[in-house]
Amino acid sequence: MPKDELKAEFRLVGTRPNRPDGLDKVTGRARYGADATLPGMLWGAVVRSPHAHAKIVKIDASKALALDGVKAVVTRADLPTGLTGEDWNLQENTLAGEKALYDGHAVAAVAATSRLLAEEAARLVEVTYEVLPHVIDVDDAIRPDAPVIREGAADASVPPGMPPNVVRYLDFGRGDIDAGFAAADLVREQTYKTEATHQGYIEPHACVGQLGADGKGEMWVCTQGQWYIRKMCSAVLGLEAAQLRVTPSEIGGGFGGKTTIFMEPLSLALSRKAGGRPVKIVMSRSEVLRATGPTASASMDVKIGMKKDGTITAGRAEFRMQGGAFPGSPVAEGLYCAFAPYAIPALQHIGYDVLANRPKCAAYRAPGSPMGAFAVESLIDEMCRELGLDPMAVRLKNAVREGDTASYGATFGSIGLIETLEATAAHPNLAVPLGPNQGRGIASGFWFNHAGETSVTLAIGEDGTATVSVGTPDIGGSRASIALMTAETLGIRYEDVRVNIVETGALGVNEPTHGSRATFASGKAAVIAAEAAIREMCNRAAAEWGIEPEAVEWVQGAAQPAGPNAGKFPPMSIAEIASKMGGTGGPISGHHESVPDGFGASFGAHVVDVEVDPETGRTTVLRYLVVQDAGRAIHPAYVEGQYQGGAAQGIGWALNEEYIYGKDGRLQNTVFLDYRIPVASDLPPIDTVIVEVPNPGHPYGVRGVGETGITPPLPAIANAIHAATGVRLRHLPMTPPKILAAMKTKG
């Protein structure tokens, strides 16, 4: 369906009004994690391990406690024991127990009357370590003789006899893999590596926690999910969830990294020890980089069989990922996504989740998918070159369609990969002639999308306006899209809807804003809640008119008799119904909670033109195009924003960003100067095309758009650099020295 036809059906959906929180955010009024101050508030600071792997022999806090104004010190001994599984992992990551497992691992925390005093006190806490051998790189960590990070960490999925740091294993596939490779004209196998990167949100983690001796607590925190904070803090500290009230601040970016806890339980534990005074903890940038949750690093073998005409006959992927000193690298997700854009009859996937002496990884935008795409999309490009095939045509030829079984086992519903590839092929950027040292690369990307637990309440105000309470923090304009859908459904003005992100006491449990779900899931629930309110308003009008509720319909924000037989009454507007509601049965609201089904899968395709300086090996991105299926773009400007932001992060991952460790296992690049994310002058304009293949699982056709955009840049840029230079880089990031060395070797 062409986009124009779709748009004509809506009054508000698809328009670009100002976001409701815009004024607060351009005037400095919006309050983020570090912007709250409470009476009697203390400041917390964290003592961190300088070693990658070390036994903690002794912690002596006497000098810190002797300082005037120091109110509490917390170590692992202050936390409950007996936790298991992921709860134990979270607790161990919050504060080290017997061993420090990575450079930056929290060992103790202090609270004092000022930030400077707390930092000084933290420096005075004396920790005696016995340094142990460490391992950083995933290929080293998976060796049978690698230093063992934790005995017994492997789960039941790991068959006996695997190396000690393998903690999770999976394999799956379909078809006859040998026959598939035998049917190919060309079979190639290569190894690819990606390094760990950080989400790089500009707002460091910050919270104010308060906990009394009665176990009742409050927290103000920048998070993607206030209920996750509640659940995890409760587990780590042994609290009752209902007694902890978590209020989300505005959030300065998350990208998956703010879906878990780091120092939040420490502020509560310190507060409890300091007589219930609130404790504020704000991380420094170095703490964010050393001790929050970067993404995994990956080492990946991929083998593909292709016929001369470009048909892919078989694929095999074996991925090893380390996600730090705890289980949880996104190796399964990486494998599920790797071949997802392709209909391939025979597939085999093998995955290893490996421990290393690094921080516990957190989700990062489409976790696992960028790594898998880097390997698979690079190899497909290499094989297209070898066979003299057009990489776009090969992608179209093998693309999955509705009804196809995905590489990971599910069956695709309505998806828009073909439409996305066709729109990409038709874009004028592909016709721009390239000069010397320039090259063009394309790649596809996939993300499942996600629904998750969702609870939304809508209340009609006395004047016919509407308040929507949602549990998904607004990171990139979701208030605007939810207000648009609600107003569209109720038939009122966009400005007459206020969307509030509420605390944990105000709704049922919500999952965070993650998995590209906020506009899909909270939006869908808001629409269903609005429909419930409409039904009640129709009931009220029916009672006024003395007719059956079924004889009333809702048109343009008013109840009216449905057809001539229902009776002759002038429409009764939402404002009129609302103004009388106190005397017609009381407040009118709608509520919906569920795990919504029908989130549609997401595909995108990117095209990048680069120029590589043959003298320095430096890559300049000249042009960038993102094409992606949004199902339906509720607020197109924020959909474009997601595409552009994902592409920019992917460009950084491809060219520049990586966690660099020294031989001592310490992170070397702990400030933005050294962990350099793309700046404005590094990037060109990022062109976008929104494809709309409506998702039948959402009342307005939405499918999540947040994550897919980070996936294609990694291989697209590798493919473009190959086109420009003739050299293939299979290990990210593709820094100038690496490119130069590869060009020299090639000669």
Partner: protein, 159 residues
């Protein structure tokens, strides 16, 4: 460490505070003056989220000591709208969806205003280099550049 009494002008108002000599201007604005619009993204001069004007000069307030503000003039994001009227940059940022999380926005607005005062008609490249010290992780900068250009055009038209 004993605190030092500082008198300064912030957004046109005289303010006084007691600063620990180790505290940055950013700390003082946020923790002593109660102006939390300027943000700390790094504390090392790399992200620009803390951008303010000090006697008209664009600075990273995380690299200036609070006591250095003595007798000087500080302008922050909170002073950018005048008399309830948004500055054209602020308006255009909202209109162009040039912010997602909004955390970088105060610093970028303060820096962009300084640019347009120096150069009323910048090229895209000039804007990109001027703002190279202001990190944004959400937007990929595209809409930010468009918003600055649109505001500049409007301001030229109005002038």
């Amino acid at each position: 460490m004993s605190r030092i009494h500082v008198t300064t002008t912030v957004n046109g108002d005289t303010v006084e505070f007691l600063a620990d000599p180790r505290e940055t201007l950013l700390d003082c604005l946020r923790d002593h003056v109660g102006l939390t619009g300027s943000k700390e993204g790094c504390g090392t001069g790399d992200c620009g989220a803390c951008s303010v004007r000090l006697d008209g000069t664009l600075v990273c307030s995380c690299l200036v000591l609070g006591v250095e503000a003595q007798g000087r003039t500080v302008e922050t994001i909170e002073g950018m709208a005048t008399g309830g009227e948004l500055h054209p940059l602020q308006r255009k940022f909202i209109e162009h969806a040039a912010l997602q999380c909004g955390f970088c926005t105060p610093g970028i607005l303060v820096a962009a205003k300084a640019l347009l005062e120096k150069n009323a008609n910048p090229t895209d490249t000039e804007i990109r280099y001027w703002l190279a010290g202001n990190l944004c992780r959400c937007t990929g900068y595209d809409k930010i550049i468009r918003a600055v250009q649109d505001a500049a055009a409007e301001m030229r038209g109005a002038a």
